[in-house]
């Protein structure tokens, strides 16, 4: 098989799986699971073959053409795509595997695995896309599959609402994304990623700033940057493996991937904006994570925060980072590096939390857990590796990738560096807080007391991901899959190296230590008890966006809609149309009333007509 055929196979296999499940296997959950997982396995194998095979290629075919305008279905498989493909297929497979155990009792398993397959299809489409139109198409499709999977338990009002919210918020981002694509098409004459790199001549100054910013809107929506971050925490209503796959490891990272794809279009001003959006989100989400009680919400905010890191990294480093006098897209390297490691450890953490939730009969409140260390040892140890990775414990994957970002920040913008460092402190704080509350101390609820370790299908993915979280940061691993992308990752030298090392160690210790010290396995939130003001402030901070949006939707948008509807009913359909009809009707009544039945009246009519005619003949008119 040629590499193109392999890529096509990788793309289409999940589609076939989804179609087969949708058409024939809706009620045969077992077979559906089998089909979906084996397809995931197959495509992971083929992808691995593609990635390690070293063949990089482009191929495309026309999908639609009107005159000069053509949309093509094309593959651009380079090292960047390879990294992403690895993340998607590999993490994806293990999450499929995990799901077999996690969703074993779900009646609608068929639908679930069909959704997963559609997601794989859509996500791989983004990975392979060689042009922005195609990327947009799959961009929307991942949104759709996310909608499907968040709303898996649709009978829950909250799940239904969350799915809807995710889709609509993403649409808002896509609005800008699509505009950006359109502008890109008309300014540069193409949206093909390869051609864009070749023909990019900047365009007008407004265009060159606006295009990347509009395209970034897509990333804002998909990667849940501020101010569109609101959907991601709600998306935790979906089954936990979905959160792991879609809302942590892959889909939300697609925004960063997309930014890296269009790196050639970037200009400094736009990058500044992107950087600040990323930085703000990172800090904000970390602050919010501190006050969460729901294990998945903590992870969701942590995901937000880490995505903020990646976006900030991209904004910090792209285009103008010089290493040894050569401009390299260091931001791309740093962002993709963190994306990859984050995919490993965040998927691990989510699956771990899934294992915990599964073990605790779907209890998600961390204050109702505790003492699970002994009950779920495998989960505990893998989870610990994940925590270590995310808080940047030296030697673990997160340490390297986070350091690369901090290094960039240090060199480019001290303010950002400070914020990101603070964020790192907070990250360590909330992760350790959660870790400690879940696994240590006394069990605090009935469910937790009866917790048990999960089955093999669930623990195997945990182990594999734990291994990757531990070693994924070493260039032997990342360099092997990332190829040239790995070279873009900035490496600290000399004084910077020391600074970064010290800072990152310090923030980790401060954050983790304070959390360990602060939370003494209480049944209540210590922070809430000790520092009411701070707690409330953070809660308000977290909720303010939801409140604002809810206010907008319910009070502004809906009332505006009602007002327009009212105006239409009253003025257009009522006053104008019924009015006209009424007027004509009145004239009709009048016309009818003219027939008074009296001969004389009729003779007067004749006289009237005659006078008019005569007058006209006499030249009066």
């Amino acid at each position: 098989m040629t590499p193109v055929t392999q890529a096509l196979l990788v793309l289409l296999l999940p589609l076939v799986s989804a179609a087969v499940i949708a058409l024939f296997l809706r009620r045969q959950g077992g077979i559906a699971t089998l089909v979906s997982v084996s397809v995931a396995a197959a495509l992971a194998a083929v992808s691995l073959n593609l990635i390690l095979g070293g063949e990089r290629f482009t191929a495309s075919m026309e999908w639609l053409r009107f005159g000069n305008f053509a949309v093509s279905l094309g593959f651009k498989f380079d090292d960047l795509a390879a990294v992403m493909l690895f993340v998607v297929s590999f993490v994806g497979f293990f999450i499929h595997l995990f799901s077999t155990g996690y969703m074993r009792e779900d009646a609608a398993r068929g639908r679930y695995f069909g959704g997963l397959s559609i997601f794989m299809f859509a996500m791989l489409g983004i990975v392979f896309a060689d042009n922005l139109f195609m990327m947009f198409i799959f961009w929307e499709l991942v949104g759709f599959s996310s909608y499907l999977l968040i709303g898996h338990w649709h009978e829950r009002q909250s799940a239904s609402d969350a799915a809807k919210k995710a889709f609509i918020v993403n649409r808002v981002g896509d609005f800008g994304f699509l505009l950006g694509i359109l502008m890109c098409y008309w300014v540069h004459g193409t949206v093909n990623l390869t051609e864009l790199g070749a023909t990019h001549d900047g365009g007008g100054i407004i265009y060159s700033r606006l295009i990347p910013l509009l395209l970034f809107c897509g990333a804002i929506g998909k990667s849940a940057m501020m101010p569109l971050q609101v959907w991601l925490p709600d998306a935790m209503e979906g089954p936990t493996p979905v959160s792991a796959l879609i809302h942590a490891a892959t889909m939300v990272a697609a925004g960063i991937y997309m930014l890296c794809r269009i790196e050639v279009l970037m200009v400094p001003d736009a990058l500044q904006v992107i950087m600040w959006v990323g930085t703000t989100t990172a800090l904000y989400a970390a602050l919010c994570a501190i006050v969460q009680r729901d294990i998945k919400k903590v992870l969701a905010y942590s995901t937000l925060s880490q995505l903020g890191y990646m976006v900030a990294a991209f904004g910090l480093g792209s285009s103008s980072f010089e290493l040894n006098g050569v401009a390299i897209a260091a931001g791309v390297g740093a962002a993709m590096f963190h994306l990859t490691t984050h995919a490993f450890f965040k998927a691990l953490l989510f699956l771990g939390s899934g294992s915990v939730i599964h073990g605790c009969q779907h209890e998600q409140d961390i204050f109702k857990m505790g003492g699970l260390k002994s009950k779920m040892p495998l989960t505990f140890w893998t989870f610990t590796i994940g925590v270590a990775a995310i808080i940047g414990m030296p030697g673990f994957a997160g340490f390297f990738s986070k350091d690369a970002i901090l290094l960039l920040a240090l060199q480019k913008n001290p303010a950002v560096f400070a914020i990101l460092a603070l964020t790192a402190v907070l990250t360590a704080f909330y992760m350790v807080r959660m870790w400690k509350l879940v696994f240590f101390g006394a069990t605090r609820s009935e469910h937790a007391a009866h917790a048990h370790e999960s089955g093999f299908s669930m623990t195997l993915p945990l182990i594999v991901l734990a291994v990757l979280s531990a070693v994924g940061g070493y260039s032997g691993i990342f360099g092997r899959i990332a190829g040239s992308v790995a070279y873009l990752v900035p490496h600290a030298e000399g004084a910077d190296h020391t600074t970064i090392l010290i800072v990152s160690l310090a923030v980790m210790i401060v954050g983790a230590g304070s959390a360990w010290w602060f939370y003494k396995s209480d049944a209540t939130d210590t922070l809430e008890a000790k520092s009411r003001g701070l707690f409330r402030g953070l809660t308000v901070l977290k909720e303010s966006f939801d409140v604002l949006y809810d206010y907008y939707v319910a009070k502004v948008q809906q009332r505006f809609a009602m007002l327009l509807n009212f105006l239409e009913q009253i003025f257009l359909a009522g006053l104008i149309i019924r009015g006209c009809a009424g007027l004509v009707g009145l004239m009709g009544l009048g016309g009818r009333a003219l027939h008074v039945g009296s001969l004389h009246a009729y003779v007067y009519w004749f006289l009237f007509g005659l006078v008019l005619l005569w007058a006209y003949a006499a030249g009066v008119f």
């Binding site: 004509v584 009707g585 016309g591 009818r592 027939h595 001969l599 007509g609 005659l610």
Partner: protein, 510 residues
């Protein structure tokens, strides 16, 4: 006196009068007389057959007429220029004959409900028909007047034919007075034209002052003569009464309502068509040089007629008045055609097609009305149609087709008629009139649709409460001749909408 009748005179009489050219009219007259003779000769029990004779005789005549529809040497004057035969005349002959047959048929249904002399009815219809044929072909004011008066007097009698009904008589009286008034106007107009055209002091004066061709020549020589204008205006007023153009339409609802339903149909179709035939002849031939006078007048009349007819019909509940007022608006559409015909030959064909479609549809509707109406002919309300679709789907379908065609809904013939008129009007550049026409069509949808609604939508009339009496008249069962005729009318309406064939070619190719 007899001495004056020299052989030369007789010869001259024979030479100048070509009776063969008016064989349909003669045949109709003879048939009419035959009916009276039969009434005297046949025993009373056989009197019921006389209408059959009338109808069959006319059918035979129609067949003969159609058989030799385009005789050689058609375009000519006969009877010393009193008549002008043309293909349009042939068309109108057939038109009147068909409507007469249909009226006779409806008459059999309507008169069966009344204890009235029957034979006279058919006699009158036949004579009126013959007179209308001559009217349509007249080329001379004397003949025009005499034929017109024959038609009018015949209608006076026919309208008040249900002499037991005060409404019929009242309608007759109203028609009588308005008709006589309009005749007087027309006559005075003729007199003025005669006086001015024959005046030796004026250039181009003519001895044949009442002949249309001569009048045309005279008017062409005197482009701005007040008396001629006054005459033309008065004649137009007289004709406007016949066709029911604004503001001479005011009599229509009352008379239509009071008249027996078949007579209403006759008035609505044949009398109106006769008016249009005359109007076309006058505007296109006799008054052609005064187009600057006639065209604005007819245009304004057309617009006002369309608007008035439609608006007044909008809230009407009595279906006879409704159809009368809708007929007024149709007159407006036809007037547009007449105006267009002044500059566009195509419009002539359009008017004739419109008339044909109007005939089919109107008789279809009147056929249904005749069956739905009770003995009291004048009170025909929309309410009476409730449930028609359920009780008698055939009648309802015919009604729908007829009304649809009148409303100008494709694929029915009425739409094609309107289309041709519109095309002609557009070719003639009558944009304001087209605007009015569109407004008219849209308004008209309301009441036509309202009628269909009554027959179809409100099919499920609530069952009668105890003690409540169904005020709707009992419907007449549909006998097969009427059924076949109605079916044919509906079918032709549909067919003519889809496929005009040689009929369309014949009418529209000029």
């Amino acid at each position: 006196m007899f001495a004056a009748m020299t052989p030369e005179l007789l010869q001259a009489a024979a030479a100048s009068n070509q009776w063969g050219a008016i064989f349909p009219e003669l045949a109709l007259g003879c048939l009419a007389l035959l009916l009276l003779v039969l009434e005297i000769l046949l025993p009373k029990s056989a009197h019921a057959r006389i209408p059959v004779v009338a109808i069959l005789g006319q059918l035979v005549l129609l067949a003969v007429l159609l058989w030799n529809f385009a005789p050689t040497g058609l375009e000519r004057d006969t009877f010393n220029g009193l008549l002008h035969h043309s293909r349009d005349g042939q068309f109108m002959r057939a038109f009147f004959l068909v409507s007469s047959i249909l009226v006779c048929l409806l008459g059999t249904v309507a008169l069966a409900k009344q204890k009235l002399p029957r034979v006279e009815f058919y006699h009158l219809v036949l004579v009126v028909t013959a007179a209308m044929m001559l009217l349509a072909q007249s080329n001379h004011f004397v003949l025009l007047f005499v034929a017109l008066e024959t038609v009018t007097v015949g209608f006076y009698i026919l309208v008040s034919y249900f002499r037991a009904s005060p409404l019929s008589l009242e309608a007759g009286l109203k028609y009588l007075i308005m008709g006589a008034l309009s005749s007087a106007l027309l006559l005075f107009g003729i007199v003025l034209l005669y006086g001015v055209a024959g005046n030796p002091a004026l250039p181009g004066h003519t001895a044949e002052a009442m002949n249309f061709n001569a009048l045309n020549a005279f008017l062409a020589a005197n482009p701005d003569n007040f008396l001629a204008k006054a005459g033309i205006v008065l004649v137009l007023a007289g004709v406007a009464f016949k066709i029911g153009a604004f503001p001479f339409q005011i009599w229509i609802p009352d008379v239509y309502q009071g008249a027996p339903t078949p007579v209403t149909a006759f008035l609505a179709v044949a009398s109106k068509a006769a008016g249009f035939a005359v109007l076309l002849v006058l505007t296109l031939r006799a008054f052609a040089p005064y187009a600057t006078l006639t065209v604005p007048i007819l245009s304004v009349l057309a617009a006002a007629t369309i608007l008035f007819g439609n608006i007044a019909a909008l809230t009407q509940h009595n279906v006879k008045r409704l159809i009368g007022l809708s007929g007024v608006s149709h007159a407006g559409f036809l007037l547009i055609g007449v105006v267009a015909a002044v500059s566009t030959p195509l419009a002539l064909g359009a008017v004739y097609f419109y008339l044909a479609a109007y005939l089919l549809a109107t008789f279809a509707v009147f056929g249904v009305m005749t069956h739905v109406a009770g003995a009291n002919d004048a009170e025909q309300e929309l309410d009476h149609y409730a449930g028609l679709a359920r009780d008698n789907p055939f009648l309802a379908a015919v009604l729908a087709v007829g009304l649809g065609s009148l409303a100008g809904i494709p694929p029915l013939a009425g739409f094609m008629g309107k289309l041709f008129v519109f095309i002609a009007a557009f070719k003639a550049g009558l944009y304001p009139l087209l605007t009015v026409a569109i407004v008219g069509v849209v308004i008209s949808i309301y009441y036509y649709f309202g009628w269909i609604k009554a027959a179809f939508f409100e099919a499920w009339r609530a069952p009668l409460q105890e003690g409540e009496i169904d005020d709707r008249p009992a419907r007449t069962p549909v006998a097969w001749p009427a059924g076949v005729t109605l079916g044919l009318l509906a079918l032709c309406t549909v067919l003519l909408g889809f496929y005009q064939g040689s009929f369309g070619e014949w009418l529209l190719t000029r």
